[in-house]
């Protein structure tokens, strides 16, 4: 379809919803009565539906194959979607009396119980509405913890690695911390000497992923935790890449004070193109008094609401968080059980290494940190740097060309790129081997094509609804347009 914008479909007098007509002009103070009607489109209900259905068909999503690394593209069980859409979830108000929301509270309690088992932590909050929000929660709790210990003004540094997700330094900075970033050694993780050098009585906390999204596990992590603790800091484990170690290790066993699970990645909750999501935040008893409220406790008759302790950080977001997603994640855990979760880890690590073996046989593809010889965990960081040097075809070109074959974009890498033209596919446990093989075959085909006919790749995509970007400068105020009104003013429609 060559689909217009909704704003272009307007015909005066049309509408998609009617309401009983009443006059209420007298109920609005004269100064606050809207004068000019908003410039919204006027469209009939069937045409609105058809318009967005067509836009949905112009979204590849998981109709194709997406191995978007670090995001652990999983199947989202439709049973959970159906239940969440029903009134027992969708039509619940967050401030209802606890007697009337025992079902939701039970979901929270049961998932918390499961995550405690998976992490060894003591309490969980599901209020953080994404992984970044969980990191932010850790930053706020770190602040509150040191304040409670009279150490607020001194402990202003957060230590992290260059391979941590950008949300870790960014949220810590937003909470007012200074960031100390550790570089990687050639084996793929920072040296403990560098860590020790960074630690001091100004250290508030360590924020770290392990494995990071290169699939490399830091075997010295226990020593790291000990060193940070010895310096008086807290240790936060960003479990964004939990899929490779589920049921294999537990953050609390390694000494961490807190950790974070992404329910919309690891736990089968749909991504929705970027939320609503949940960064489930867990901590030990040491940090539990600082957790945001509300929390759920089991009592004799059912489940009770705890408002959050007096020392709580309050809220990082209103209410319970994305509680409907908590319900879905609980469903996932209930269906998988302990053994299913560990098996999913086995399969995702096995498939990643299977992919690695095949991908490294493709001309133009190399792997990060050749000094790190072992099996990678759930992901491997690759580079198309050689391909680019030899053909001029870059990672974005390859993404576009692969889309022509029904393969959605791969993940490249977070900023900063420490390898040229990085790419990071993640197999996970839910794609069939046939799909993985097809993905590999398409990449092989495109790399081969890059050597034979680089313009074919560089001018991709060729069979999508639209072609590649023109490369306009979207950072120019005269060019950018985040609304139709701005576009019309700047570009005339």
């Amino acid at each position: 379809w060559d689909e217009p914008l909704a704003m272009e479909m307007s015909v005066a007098g049309r509408r998609g919803q009617h309401y009983p007509i009443v006059d209420a002009d007298d109920l609005v103070p004269a100064a606050m009565r809207r004068q000019a009607p908003p410039e919204l489109p006027e469209i009939s209900e069937p045409d609105v539906l058809r318009h967005y259905l067509r836009l949905s068909q112009q979204t590849m999503g998981m109709m194709g194959i997406s191995l978007f690394g670090t995001c652990t593209m999983k199947y989202n069980p439709r049973l959970h979607e159906k239940l969440a859409a029903g009134p027992h979830v969708a039509e619940m108000h967050p401030e209802q009396h606890p007697d009337t929301m025992q079902g939701l509270l039970e979901c929270v309690w049961r998932l918390e119980d499961a995550l405690k088992a998976l992490s060894g932590m003591a309490r969980f909050s599901f209020q953080p509405a994404g992984g970044a929000d969980a990191a932010y929660t850790q930053a706020c709790i770190t602040r509150a913890y040191h304040a409670a210990h009279g150490d607020a003004d001194r402990r202003t540094q957060i230590v992290t690695s260059i391979q941590s997700h950008p949300c870790n330094p960014a949220t810590a900075a937003a909470a007012g911390f200074d960031i100390v970033t550790l570089p990687l050694e050639s084996n793929g993780y920072p040296s403990i000497q560098a860590l020790r050098a960074a630690l001091s009585d100004r250290t508030a906390a360590l924020f770290i992923n392990n494995p990071d999204d290169m699939g490399v596990y830091n075997p010295e992590i226990r020593d790291w935790v000990d060193a940070v603790h010895a310096a008086g800091g807290l240790c936060f484990y960003d479990h964004a890449n939990f899929n490779g170690v589920m049921g294999k290790i537990r953050a609390a066993d390694l000494g961490f004070d807190a950790c974070m699970f992404m329910l919309h990645k690891t736990f089968g909750v749909p991504k929705g193109g970027g939320g609503p999501a949940v960064g489930a935040y867990g901590c030990t008893e040491k940090l539990a008094p600082f957790l945001p409220g509300p929390l759920v406790a089991k009592d004799g008759n059912g489940f009770a609401v705890e408002p959050g302790a007096a020392s709580s950080i309050g809220r990082v977001r209103e209410y319970w968080g994305n509680i409907h997603q908590v319900m879905k994640a609980y469903g996932w855990v209930a269906a998988m059980g302990a053994e299913g979760i560990a098996e999913a880890s086995d399969i995702s690590v096995a498939l990643n290494n299977y992919m690695e073996k095949k991908l490294l046989a493709i001309r133009g593809v190399t792997r990060s940190h050749p000094d790190q010889p072992g099996w990678r965990l759930e992901m491997t960081r690759y580079s198309l740097g050689q391909l680019y040097e030899e053909t001029g075809v870059g990672g974005g070109d390859v993404q576009n060309r692969m889309a022509d074959f029904g393969i959605d974009a791969f993940w490249m890498a977070h900023e900063p790129w420490i390898f040229p033209h990085p790419f990071t596919p993640e197999a996970g446990e839910m794609w069939s081997r046939e799909d993985i093989d097809y993905w590999i075959a398409v990449l092989a085909h495109v790399c081969d094509e890059a050597y034979r006919d680089p313009d074919m790749v560089k001018s991709a995509p060729h069979n999508q609804a639209v072609g590649k970007l023109a490369g306009d400068d979207l950072d120019d105020p005269a060019v950018w347009a985040t609304t139709w009104a701005a576009w019309q003013r700047k570009h005339g429609g």
């Binding site: 209420a24 004068q35 919204l40 979204t59 994404g130 994305n322 209930a334 053994e339 099996w375 999508q464």
Partner: protein
Amino acid sequence: MPNSAPALKAAILAELGLDDAEPLFGQIPEDHRLREALPLPLPPAITSEVELSRHLRGILAKNRHCLDNISFLGGGCWQHHVPAVVDEIVGRSEFLTPVWGTPSSDLGRNQAWFEFTSQLGALLGMEMVGLPVYSWGCAAGHAIRMAARITGRGKVLVPAEMSPERRMVVDNYCAAAGAGRAIEVVAIATDSATGRLDLGDLDARLGADVAAVYFENPAYLGMIESDAAAIVEAAHKAGALAIVGVDPISLGVLSPPSDYGADIAVGSTQPLGVHMHGGGGLGGFIASRDEAIYAHEYPTLLNSMTRTAAGERVFAMSLMHQSSYGAREEGKDWTGNSTYLWAIANAAYMALLGPLGFRELGALILRRAHDAARQIASVPGISVAHPSGFFKEFVVDFGGTGQSLDAIDEALRVRGIFGGIDLGARLPGREHQALYCVTECHSPADIDRLVTALREVCA
């Protein structure tokens, strides 16, 4: 799991020269590993969908929801009618499941987002709108931090009587670990006669150290700030920005922020076609004039329309380098997963209503809410604090009934009614008062049922 059949798993391992997955975890030192016989104390897996469905339905059936009961709860999450078309659109697998593709492979999704920002901008009268953030509270927090960066000042004035949930979020966003980095949050009193902001108190607190005045319209307790223009003018006179938090569903009948000069508008996207989901329906927005001074401080992703090499319209991110994805700790605050699916619901909702729908709906809500307030106030012992000048929420005072709010609410629950939010527990000086919310979802018969119940309960 497609590859979990033993033969399939073995074949994959065989390609690696293995007959067991264990060696693949060789990177992890033995003493880091979990090695109990039964690895995790989880209940047995419920592998069949029919059993899992029964299990989950059994749990959820313990909820009492707002369709089977009549709910007067609002205050930051509201029961509005969600057109069935919106449910179908957000349920489409193509929108529900993906994360991020190329501009071509995500064309439809990105266009829907652009229609979200464009239509919301039309409601607000503002030409720059970011992709959504988690909630109204988060949007307010980010906007206040934007104002602090723009003005280089470190204080914000906020209404004393704002939602405690929202206020706690704002407090976190304004706090800082490093000395001198925090933004001081100062409350502006309510004028007890009008229920609106006390302009005298506002003036008294304004000064050269104030980065922004943040106010809400309608405010937490439902009142329409009819002096909005004066509030904005006072802020501007002090060199501060005016940030307004609005309920976008009111903008068919209430003046848009642009009309009274607000610099930044924030608010909730939940009323625009998203079910409450126990609070999981929340989303927030940030909008402003389309000027570089604001644009350069947005923490959100900015989805811009542009062109392909062949001249087709397409969408891509503007100013990506200033986001935390692009600049880590040097970025403008931070972003990550947000509430992007709901933005598609919002886009479809606004397209369905159009200008006529928003106008009709706003009028209907005003009329129903005022009718309800009048009837409730007719019950002996009950009064409405400010019987006019509100939008969909109003404060009901039960002080004259001689009964506790807890007892009244419990008696209502027995009758299938969820009373309004108990303000006594939330705001000082509001004992025996509750915030009642009435929308298009409440029929006149629902109001009759409430009033009849209140007469019984408070007799």
